[in-house]
Each structure stands twice: as C-alpha cells, then as structure tokens.
C-alpha cells in the first residue's frame, strides 16, 4: 500500500516514500500537523494529507488510492465487507452551539432533536426569549452531520428548510453572527464567539467526554486496508504516541485516545 517511488536503488534512505492520508476534514488538524512533523523527523518520507470527508476517505483507502483513510464516523454496514482495519486515534465531542447572547444554556437530547427536526421553532419553547430558531446544518458529505444524525437525531429527519453550509468554520461564523441561530460543530472548534450548550445537564468538556457523561461524542478513526505496514505503520504509531496525543490532539480540542485508558475505562 505504501507508494515507493525509489528508482530501483538499494541503498538505505535513498528512496522517497509517501504516505497518503485522505478523509475527514474533522481530523485535518491532527493529520496535517502530525504529518508535517513526521515528514520532518523521517527524511525522505512525505505524508500527503487531504480532507474530502469521511466517506471519501473510506472509499479512497478501499480502492487503494490512499494508505490511510481517516473518518469521524463508524463504518456503515455496506463498508464492513471492505476488510478495513480500524485504529481509533482520538475522541471528539459534538457541541450544540448558539449565539453567546442566547440565554438558553441547557437542552435535553429530545429538545435538540426536536429543534433540528423543525418541530420546535422558537426559543421560547425551550425557556428562551421569543426568537425564531435558525437551524444551521452541515452538508450530507460531512462526517459531523453523519455522527450528529446518528447520535442525536435517532430516526428523526433534519428540517429540510435548514441552511446547509459546507464547513465547520462557516457554521461557527454564522452562528456567532445570528442571535437566533443554532448549529453543531466538533468541540475542538468551539471558540468564544459561540456558546456550547449543556446537553441533558452535562456541559461538553474534556472530562465529561472522557467520563462518558456527555452524550454527543464519537471516536475518530484511521482505517487501513489490512494491518498497516511499513511507513504507514510507523506514522500511525507516531500519531498514537504521547508526542502527538498530548500535544497536537489536545491543541486541536480533541481528547486523546489514551486519556480513557488513564481513567481505567
């Protein structure tokens, strides 16, 4: 799976090696920075990173066009047969975000579901001011949308009239700007421009995610076609090492995969 572009030369370190990493845009903060650092530490090795969405990542690793497919969602049933090997690399919580001036601080999962299904349409119905709720949704290629649909929406459908924006940054900036807006983004991308509401009384923080109390969370995956080998294996081990987990993963707002082991979970 690792693409060797050496020109038949046998001496060590003379060949250039590439690890192609494709997939979830949610994982980009991890893969881009760690890939760059890995390339620097291993001369002649390049980690090529691109973000096209989880589904695209899974498709590209299964067709062999990339070595590692990153995904912010679990495999779907029709993807089980691809024989991909799963390496969890981090935890991610999805925060439901509102405008900072919105007095609503706490919603139940049921309320969030009803809001995004278009059943609850005014903030006064959930203890807020008389203000129309503006739903901001992600496009269907988004792994965050997929995870949110699965974890929060259950069988309910998203309101088809919701604004669809094709990126986390766009969702956040619109919600920071519109008083009645509500949306969802990875906890790692929540800034002071917006407020993450508590779900079922639990505020999304690292502790509540690791402890499992915060309900809207998911695992971020590296998928490989079979057991990872060679440089791809080295890169994955590097991502799982404290050098990446305690720095890059944390700085991106994700929770290290190693954090749960530390709690004995």
């Amino acid at each position: 799976m690792v693409t060797l572009t050496a020109s038949g030369c046998t001496s060590e370190g003379a060949g250039r090696t590439e690890v192609i990493v494709t997939g979830s845009t949610t994982l980009l903060p991890i893969t881009e920075v760690s890939g760059e650092m890995f390339s620097e530490e291993h001369e002649g090795t390049t980690v090529l990173v691109s973000g096209m969405g989880s589904s695209a990542g899974i498709e590209s690793v299964s067709t062999g066009s990339s070595d590692i497919g990153t995904s912010s969602r679990e495999l779907k049933e029709n993807e089980f047969e691809l024989g991909l090997v799963d390496t969890p690399v981090a935890y991610d919580a999805i925060a439901v975000i509102v405008h900072p001036d919105n007095p609503v601080r706490d919603l139940t999962t049921m309320e969030v579901r009803a809001i995004f299904a278009g059943v609850i349409t005014n903030w006064s119905q959930v203890g807020g001011p008389d203000l129309e709720i503006g739903i901001v949704n992600r496009d269907e290629a988004s792994g965050t949308r997929e995870a949110f649909l699965k974890i929060v929406m259950d069988d309910a459908q998203f309101d088809r009239g919701a604004v669809v924006l094709p990126g986390t940054g766009q969702v956040r900036s619109v919600i920071a700007d519109v008083k009645g807006a509500v949306g969802y983004i990875s906890l790692g991308f929540v800034t002071d421009d917006v407020r993450a509401v508590a779900i079922d009384g639990v505020v999304p923080t690292e502790e509540t995610v690791v402890s499992g109390d915060y309900p809207v969370q998911r695992v971020l995956h590296f998928f490989t076609d079979g057991e990872p080998e060679g440089v791809a294996r080295e890169y994955i081990d590097y991502v799982l090492s404290p050098a990446v987990q305690d720095t890059i993963v944390r700085e991106a707002g994700f929770i290290p995969i190693t954090a749960k082991e530390g709690l004995g979970g």
Partner: protein, 313 residues
C-alpha cells in the same frame, strides 16, 4: 494583400527587389505562412467545438441512466432531493434555480439596461471612460469574491429585512443581479450603438427630448438586441455556482419566500459531488444534462431572435 501596410511584411525573408517590384504577388514564404495560419485557426475552432461535444457526450454517457434509476418521472417530477434517503427529485432545485434567476433578472436587467443607455446616449466621453471600464471590471471579479461579499456584508442586511438568517433567494438574487450587469450592459450598449444614427437624428429633428428619443425610438429599435442580452445574462445567472452556494442556504426545499434558504441545480452539484456514488452520482450528471439542455435552449433562442432581427432589417 495589396494594402500598403502589409508590404514590408510580405517581403520579409525574400529577395528585397522581388518584394519591391511585385506588390501583388505572394511570395512562397507568405503563401506558406498564410496556409499555416488558416489551418491553425481551423484547429482552434475544431478544439473548441470538440470540447463542447466531448463534455456533452461524457455528461450524457454518465447521466442518461437516470431514466432507469431513479426513473425519468421520479427524477424530473420528484419533489424531494435527499441523497441519504435515495430520493432524487429535481423539482425543488428547478424551482430554486427559476426563483433566483427571475429575481436576478428583475433586479439586474433594468440596472444593466439603464447603465447601457447612460453609456450609449447620455454620458460624456470622459464619463464613459470611467464608467465603462468599471462595468467591465465587474465581469472580472471572481465569483467567490461576490459570494464572500454576499455572505459577510449583504446577508446580515437581508436578515434584517426578511427575518431569518439572510440565506436564500433574495441574497442570491441581489448578488447575481450585480454579476449579470456587465453581460447585459455590454451587449445592450452594442445593440443601441447599432441603431442607425439617422433614426436617432430624425427623432431629435422632430423635436423629441433625449428621454423621448430613448424611450420611444432607441429602445424599441434595439429591442431584439436587448432581449438577446437579457437571455445571455440569464444564462450566466443560471450557471453561476460558487457565489450561490455561499449565500443561498442550500436547502433543497420549494420556494418558501424571499428570505428562506433554497438550493439550485448548480449549487446541489457542488454540495453533493465530493461524496456521491452510484445512483446519486448518476443523478448529479442528470442535473448537469438538464443544465446543458437549458443553456442549449437559451443559445438557440438567441440565434432564432438574431435571425428574426436580420430578416426585419
């Protein structure tokens, strides 16, 4: 070939005395160069035509299967576009495209025709030297810049006016209206310019004011050219993608008012294409076929109108 300006050129590389004595004779080198250029331009034209043909064939080949799955009726008549549910009905997208296109024409066409009248009939040469390049520059602004402007500046203003978040038909129409101004204005100015000066002079000679001349004489005389211009502007509005994706809200629902999010044929292709597989991908190529047919129809309409105009004149 006998134009004096070309004489030195024709003689280059040959015996100077021959060039001097035989102005009307073509040297061998000139003949070859002429033949080469003729064929070069032929190749250019063929490449352009081949590109259109190839795109059409490719789009058709990838998209025709929509007649099998989801089926022509479900595709053309379906009222829901939802990839996750496997529903690919394009009606909401067609309505969305129509709404935004009509909106942009209602706002943009008068603006553009007014600009053209100003440039052609009213502006002083100095004024024209400022306004015309400015209008032409509108055509050169990348659509993502229009979209960004719409998202950051225009959207909050529309949100104040219509309630909601400001994503939707009105915002997209305003942005598109500005984007189609150069197309319509330039072509309308050409149409006004090609009205024979005698007609204009006769009108003024009869004592008509500038406004009367514009309204009663020039605009009717240039009518078909202006309609042509508007149709081409419409083509631009229908095909515009990036700016629309940024401000339309991209909700594939039927038109629910000027301030409600909406999706168009083009915006849906962009939103979906990164992850579409199977029937979904076929359906996206189906959308491309629809867009192709619309644009072919518009070009045919313009050609028919031009022919009508030529016959009249």
């Amino acid at each position: 070939m006998a134009e004096p300006g070309q004489t030195p050129d024709a003689g280059r590389g040959t015996d100077p005395s021959a060039a001097a004595s035989g102005l009307k004779m073509m040297s061998r080198a000139t003949y070859l160069r002429e033949a080469l250029l003729k064929n070069l331009f032929l190749v250019c034209a063929v490449v352009a035509v081949a590109a259109v043909a190839l795109i059409f064939v490719f789009t058709m080949a990838r998209g025709w299967e929509v007649v099998k799955d989801p089926g022509l009726v479900a595709f053309l008549g379906g009222s829901e576009w939802s990839a996750t549910l496997g529903r690919f009905g394009i009606m909401p997208l067609v309505v969305g495209t129509l709404a935004i296109t009509i909106g942009s024409l209602v706002l943009g066409a008068p603006l553009a025709i007014g600009t053209a009248v100003f440039l052609s009939e009213i502006a002083s040469p100095r004024m024209r030297a400022v306004v015309r390049p400015a209008v032409e520059m509108l055509a050169g602004v990348p659509s993502v810049v229009y979209g960004f402007f719409g998202l950051v500046i225009l959207r909050p203003i529309v949100a104040e006016m219509t309630g909601g978040m400001g994503f939707g038909t009105l915002t997209a129409s305003i942005i598109l209206a500005v984007m189609i101004v150069p197309t319509i204005a330039t072509l309308t100015e050409d149409a006004l310019g090609s009205v024979p000066p005698g007609i204009r002079e006769a009108s003024y000679a009869m004592g008509a004011t500038t406004w009367q001349t514009i309204y009663k004489v020039l605009l009717p005389a240039a009518k078909i050219g202006i309609i042509d211009a508007t149709i081409l502007g419409m083509g631009r509005a229908i095909g515009e993608t990036m700016a629309v994706v940024m401000v339309a809200g991209n909700a594939p629902q039927f038109f629910k008012g000027l301030g409600a999010p909406i999706a168009t044929l083009t915006s849906q292709i962009v939103i979906d294409m990164s992850y579409a597989t199977g029937t979904h991908k076929t359906a996206l190529f189906g959308l491309a076929i629809i867009l192709f047919l619309i644009s072919m129809g518009l070009v045919a309409l313009v050609r028919a109108l031009s022919r009508l105009n030529a016959k009249k004149a």
